[in-house]
């Protein structure tokens, strides 16, 4: 039964963000604020970098504010001004990306002014931006979200998000469905998904953790992954990305949302997160860890699979 989700708090949040942005820009605590602004189409939003106080009224927060703005802080985006302290609007899932990047010393906490959002969920896709937020159109990541109230931010609008109706845990169900399949069925499922990929690299370009100067898959000396969008090269590409994100991915789900071919990429990352939690009891959360699960070890790690 489809229920609409109460997001009345978003208008209060929008005003709070605007006044906060105006304040921190006018007394120059920050040199720029990265937030969301309205797009041309009804209900659509775009990321925006504002640098003056009177631009603060452009900021808003709505159910269509899906982007993980943290990608603009990484060094992959050289053209966003990096001087001085930067303000940024972050939802709970985005904040986990900031925490991950702090742990990997890509960002410095003192250069950030985090505007946390008490989030009641966002849309799953912007193909129809004016869609109403319901239990059907809500993003899959929000159904399993446990961090609605961001922790450790510089400013959080004093609003408590309305309790969410209980939502079907889509990722958990899909992963268990896939795990129940036989290996050849799983291979067929993923072969069909990966052969749809057209190598547009949107999943890499929006990912806050994909900040390599030159991606392994863009190199040809040595050429480890095929460049052409053929099923074989696509499979290798998505496996390499899943391994590179294992233990780091914060679950912002942007890779899956931006894929023009609707490939369920976040399934791979959620599965790896689940396995790493079981194997090494480590999870991307709100506390800064300077070594991830795959960059540290313990003497007594499980080695039952090793002869």
């Amino acid at each position: 039964m489809i229920q609409t989700i109460d997001i009345s708090s978003y208008s209060v949040i929008t005003d709070a963000i605007r006044s906060e942005a105006r304040r921190i820009l006018s007394d120059s605590t920050v040199s720029a604020v990265i937030g969301y602004t309205a797009g041309r189409r009804k209900g659509s939003t775009q990321p925006i970098v504002i640098t003056t106080a009177d631009e603060a009224d452009k900021l808003l927060f709505s159910a269509a504010c899906l982007n993980d703005l943290v990608v603009y802080l990484t060094k992959a985006k050289k053209d966003v001004p990096k001087s001085g302290r930067i303000g940024i609007v972050v939802k709970g899932c985005d904040l986990k990306a900031v925490i991950g990047l702090l742990g990997e010393s890509q960002l410095k906490r003192e250069n950030l002014y985090l505007i946390g959002i008490p989030c009641s969920g966002v849309l799953g896709s912007l193909l129809k931006p004016s869609a109403e937020l319901t239990t059907k159109t809500i993003a899959s990541k929000c159904c399993e979200c446990t961090d609605r109230l961001p922790v450790g931010c510089d400013f959080v609008p004093a609003v408590t998000p309305a309790p969410l109706p209980d939502l079907e845990k889509r990722y958990a169900n899909e992963i268990s469905q896939l795990e129940a399949m036989t290996p050849s069925e799983r291979w067929e499922f993923w072969k069909e998904q990966f052969s749809k990929c057209i190598k547009c690299y949107a999943c890499r370009q929006v990912c806050p953790f994909c900040f390599c100067e030159q991606c392994l898959c863009d190199r040809n000396r040595p050429q480890m992954v095929e460049q052409t969008p053929r099923p074989s090269g696509n499979t290798a590409w998505h496996l390499v990305r899943a391994m590179h994100l294992a233990g780091r991915c914060a679950g912002c789900g942007e890779c899956e949302r931006v894929c023009p071919m609707d490939i369920p990429l976040n399934l791979l990352n959620r599965k790896m997160a689940k396995e790493l939690k079981e194997l090494f009891n480590s999870e991307a959360g709100f506390e800064v860890r300077d070594t991830g699960p795959l960059t540290s070890y313990r003497e007594d790690d499980d080695q039952s699979f090793i002869r």
């Binding site: 990321p47 053209d79 057209i198 190598k199 547009c200 370009q205 863009d218 460049q227």
Partner: protein, 334 residues
Amino acid sequence: MQKQITEANLRLLIDSLLLKGQRVVGPRQSGTMVLYEPLASASDLVTDELPRRSIKEAFFPVCEDLLEYRKEGQQIELKDIDPARFPETVLFGVRPCDAAAVPVLDAVFSWDYKDQFFLARRAKTTIIGLACTTADDACFCTAVGLSPNDPKGSDLLLTPLVGGGFLVESQSEKGLSFLEAWKDRFSEPDDTKPLPLAQPAATPFDLKKIKAWLDDHFEDPAWDSIATRCVGCGACAFVCPACHCFDIVDEGSEKAGKRRKFWDACGFSKFTNHASGHNPRDLQPKRYRNRIMHKFKYYDDKFGQTLCTGCGRCIRVCPVGIDIAGVLEEIEKK
């Protein structure tokens, strides 16, 4: 020549084409989206949604082999691709914004050197267009001089009629010969009224004025405010019916392998990266500027046409919500 065909006869026509071993490509449900794909049977045809990728793929594939090489000792033997092996194809249900882009691409692919990979497929393909009765707020074909029932590029144009069935208008020789070959499926047009066409909510752009601004605003701070948010992926270029840039790479070993041509996009940083590391377009706004310039100025300078048909796909798939219609509006106001 005008004819009429009922929904049932159209499906029968598709099935008989398939039985003849003809490849029929049309919009088909593929998982959670609609894509132009080869149809297994007429029931696959979906006519109520704009496919996620454009029809350029039927002429300019995502990835195709250019040649095959094999090395014996110091000698190399090259195997060419025989254009006769491009499959004869009939495209059903092609949207006017897709069909209109194909003749635009003819210009670049036959500029001095004839790219047989595009032109041979073009010659072996019949395009049957389908007028649009629904549009969403991303469509802006009327803003770039096209319309929901624009015959440009289609060999036959189907216009949905009230109560099902389609009015068929032939637009080219190929369309006429197709009607001739299958005349028993078609009937004479009675005067049933066509369904109301879609009205995209976009006011027409003055493309000349936009081009004039682009002519002398290569260096302009506006590009930064427009394109700083662009993250440099290729989604907009790959779903676009008019973008035609590609890359060529060898795949295989030194002993044997293939040379392949596949889609590329000017949004990528490595698109113009020199071996010395120098990159003329090092920052993202410069790359997005090239996209707008190529579509609305360079292609006009070279071939007198606009490399955009207003399908709105790039607006729908852009990860950061860059809206090309919004950008054009902003430029037009300047």
